[in-house]
Symmetry: C2
């Protein structure tokens, strides 16, 4: 891991934030190469999750929102770590880490062993707090969002009404989130400011699917074989979503989609693990949650969680805002009217029970909960329901770190004089590589070579990120590009200029991963490169 | 303006943040169409400013940084509005707006006229403040960045050392910034959370250029005629930067580049104004500043400022961090050694005086300032200097608003029955349009039409954002796309299927701006569309 951290600094992938001022714990900046890598990953996610689909749209909400949102989501009350204060040394420590943290005054002892007088554990909220407006009082308190998801729920109705989407459909967002972690660690893996890529995919409750389609297809019916990646085409062969899919099928679908995404940007399936949370690990509102883990050098850790969150979030915002979050579905209304009474009773009962369970858990008093759940179930006949949601939630920064860890490799070479050198190759998938092609004139001081190389650069540049480099020996320039993870080097030499007439207007393509070279006509270059980097 | 605000909500360009909770003043969300529009603009900026150039690299720094950065930049001390408190009503008001703000208790009177007992004006800092880490004390105070620029200065040395760039070169960043405006206004124009696109372009001080090139080319020498946009090619014909450019030439160059950018994304020159700040309006460290203004419905207001900021920022961070911010330039060292003594003395003196002026203004005591300035000037002989900077700083949100205002147009049509209808067309440049092409099967209930239309959708989708719509009459679908600003509609009809054999596999292209239609072979579609949207 140390080598990776050192490479990241040395090549401008990642710097410590505010480094010249001694840094700020838990904050990291991306340098030129890191920024391009991150942009590529976010762009590929956006393209895959939104632009290539008919059923997902984007949202870009603010980081500071009404504090009511975090009351509804539960973050104000429960998004906290237990902390103890030491009255002797004035330190504050995570209650569950007192055995690991040395006492600031007597570092030979752990906090749990020292003689300082400590308070009982108290909840320390992880949201960063600020004040909006000129007066700093209770009413002006606001938070930096600890996740991007809640804005999607808060704007669900606006998006539904303005985007010509119908359930099932999704709303996706990419953006910064903030958590005042007590102990940021593992480099950029757990930092206080980070970026998320979240999709909330809204689906019909199973009772609604059953009403409309007669039966609900579960996860087993999705047909996993169809969801494999075609290794030749390097492309997903997706099962098209079906109207009879229930939440299990949708959940499974998104797990497969997301794994295929990671494979498609160069994380082999063998570096990933799929962890299905056990019933006792699930949040109380979740029906299932799958973590996609990556084998980091510091341990196997989560890249993404894909949760089936029921109708919890929309229900909470409906209760806290007083604004209805249900949708109307003509198909449901029509199908319901054709059900026989026994089916109506059975489906109503199931829907009622689910709603009652939610309301009861939220502390709504029994009589009120029963009344509300009854009203909710009666809504089915009118074509009304509250959508459920599947949430694939990924962390950008940890994905960047996974890509760098996975790409990192070393090669040891011995030169003609017997001198041995170990150097780094970052074997990024060309799709995410910060630089797609380096354009290199063999010599800097031959104007014809330089002119031709600049022509090639200008030919490629509108279509991809290219790097022009004329400094140093060609071998050193190749090595520099290997370290930057550039998959292809394009060299312009005297043959390009026609020294060997049969090679006129051809260039050398040099592959990063094995150093092999081949000759290609400039006229074919763009069409040769484009499919490789897209 | 009201019509524009209403359209933005209705079509999902812009929503009020946290609307279901009554909103939060000064915060705005982007809906599906607004998000795509904003992404396109940011992507075009990134492409133009970084990827299409050899001399600019990107950075992505954190929003929360060391508070020292804001001490060095001056924001902690001076980024404030004067506020008065009313002891009677407990309100807080901007001291310069008491004539415009009604008294909360007696709204018939303005704050300046009411009888409330008021405090003297006090500075109210516009930075949002928070605490990092578990303990909320002085040492934990941090700020949300009020601009993206400072991170670039703080990371200047890291980028210089890891990116193979040499002065002149630039570092660019796109990202959120926050200002706790007392009076957010003009829709999204002045909001509390906003996004910036900033470039810091580092150049040699004029004394260094003069040493190396013999003379300094000023603004007049840039050759404005070369900087015009070619209206046919819709592309910039830039003057290539020259080694002998001084700060005035570089400043002028960036002003022209930035105006060309706005023209290139569809803001006609006639909608823009160029305002050269008067000497008395300039910040004390600025040598010049040009505002690029757009004629908004609520007034002509700033989109971007392009400032020549001297070496102020790097100098401040050098003093506050104790880390040197100078660069070494072998060319300078070599050139200096060839100067005659008189030239050396003259250039040294000019550099010394500029440094002394800066240090004196910053309150460094005279003896120390003289000593430091002398050392700085002595650095020239060793090839050392502190770069100056040109800063084109643009606001994303106000640009989005400008693009929407500029695109907004209405058309009134009378149908066959004499019924008149006024509808909206958003005439976005295809480059920024959220949707590039809508794909429309003439009828929804003809499987062959639908299948063919989906083929066309899948043909275009990897290359651009397309929208598939089969709902409602074709006229209504066209109208919906006009309102969304989609430049091209592609209609699949019975001729496409071969009803007229000579039209088999052709589609109708319908233009947004004039409703004209033409016929095009599906095989030609992609190559026809791509140059129009790029």
């Amino acid at each position: 891991m140390e080598k990776i951290v050192s490479l990241c600094k040395r090549r401008g992938f990642i710097y410590q934030s505010s480094e010249i001022y001694g840094g700020i714990n838990g904050f990291w900046d991306y340098g030129p190469l890191g920024t391009e890598l991150k942009r590529n990953v976010k762009e590929l996610w956006w393209n895959t999750m939104i632009r290539q689909r008919d059923d997902v749209v984007g949202l870009e909400a603010t980081i500071i929102m009404s504090p009511q949102i975090w009351k509804a989501s539960g973050h104000v009350d429960t998004f906290s770590d237990p902390m103890i204060d030491c009255k002797t040394c004035k330190g504050r420590f995570r209650a569950d880490q007192t055995n690991e943290i040395p006492c600031p005054q007597k570092p030979g002892k752990m906090v749990s062993e020292c003689h300082g007088e400590k308070t009982a554990p108290r909840a320390f909220n992880l949201m960063f707090q600020t004040y909006v407006g000129p007066v700093q009082d209770e009413s002006a308190i606001a938070y930096l969002r600890p996740e991007t998801a809640q804005a999607i729920f808060a704007q669900f109705k606006n998006v539904l009404e303005t985007s010509r989407q119908k359930v099932p459909f999704g709303i996706a967002q990419v953006g910064k989130a903030f958590r005042n972690e007590v102990t940021p660690r593992n480099y950029t893996f757990r930092s206080r400011e980070f970026e998320q890529m979240e999709l909330e995919f809204f689906i019909k409750p199973d009772e609604v699917v059953e009403t409309i389609s007669g039966r609900v297809a579960g996860a087993v019916d999705v047909g996993r074989a169809d969801l494999l990646v075609d290794p030749d085409a390097q492309q997903r062969v997706p099962t098209a979503p079906q109207p009879n899919w229930g939440w299990e099928a949708w959940h499974k679908y998104w797990v497969e989609e997301r794994i295929a995404f990671y494979e498609g940007i160069g994380l082999p399936r063998t570096t990933l693990e799929e962890y299905w949370q056990k019933p006792e690990e699930l949040a109380h509102y979740a029906k299932a949650c799958v973590d996609i883990l990556f084998k980091f050098p510091f341990g196997t850790q989560e890249l993404e969680g894909i949760a089936a969150r029921s109708d919890f979030d929309l229900s909470q915002h409906a209760r806290f805002s007083g604004k209805p979050m249900g949708v109307f579905d003509e198909e449901l209304r029509a199908a319901w009217s054709k059900l026989d009474e026994a089916r109506k009773a059975e489906l109503s009962k199931r829907y009622y029970e689910a709603r009652l369970k939610y309301l009861t858990k939220m502390g709504v008093e029994p009589a009120k909960a029963e009344k509300e759940a009854k009203e909710d179930a009666a809504g089915l006949a009118k074509g009304q329901y509250i959508p459920h949601v599947i949430e694939p939630s990924a962390g950008v920064d940890r994905l960047i770190l996974a890509l760098i860890c996975n790409a990192y490799s070393e090669v040891t070479e011995t030169d003609g004089k017997g001198k041995t050198e170990t150097r780094v190759i970052l074997k990024f998938h060309p799709r995410v590589a910060p630089i797609k092609a380096a354009v290199l004139p063999l010599l800097k001081n031959k104007p014809e070579l330089v002119r031709k190389a600049q022509e090639v650069r200008d030919l490629l540049r509108p279509w991809m990120n290219v790097f022009y480099d004329d400094g140093g020996s060609i071998g050193r320039r190749y090595a520099r590009q290997d370290e930057a993870g550039t998959p292809f080097c394009v060299t312009i030499d005297f043959d390009t200029l026609g020294e060997k007439p049969e090679l006129k207007d051809t260039v050398t393509i040099r592959y990063r991963d094995d150093g092999k070279q081949e000759r290609l006509a400039i006229g074919e270059l763009l069409n040769w490169l484009l499919p490789k980097i897209r």
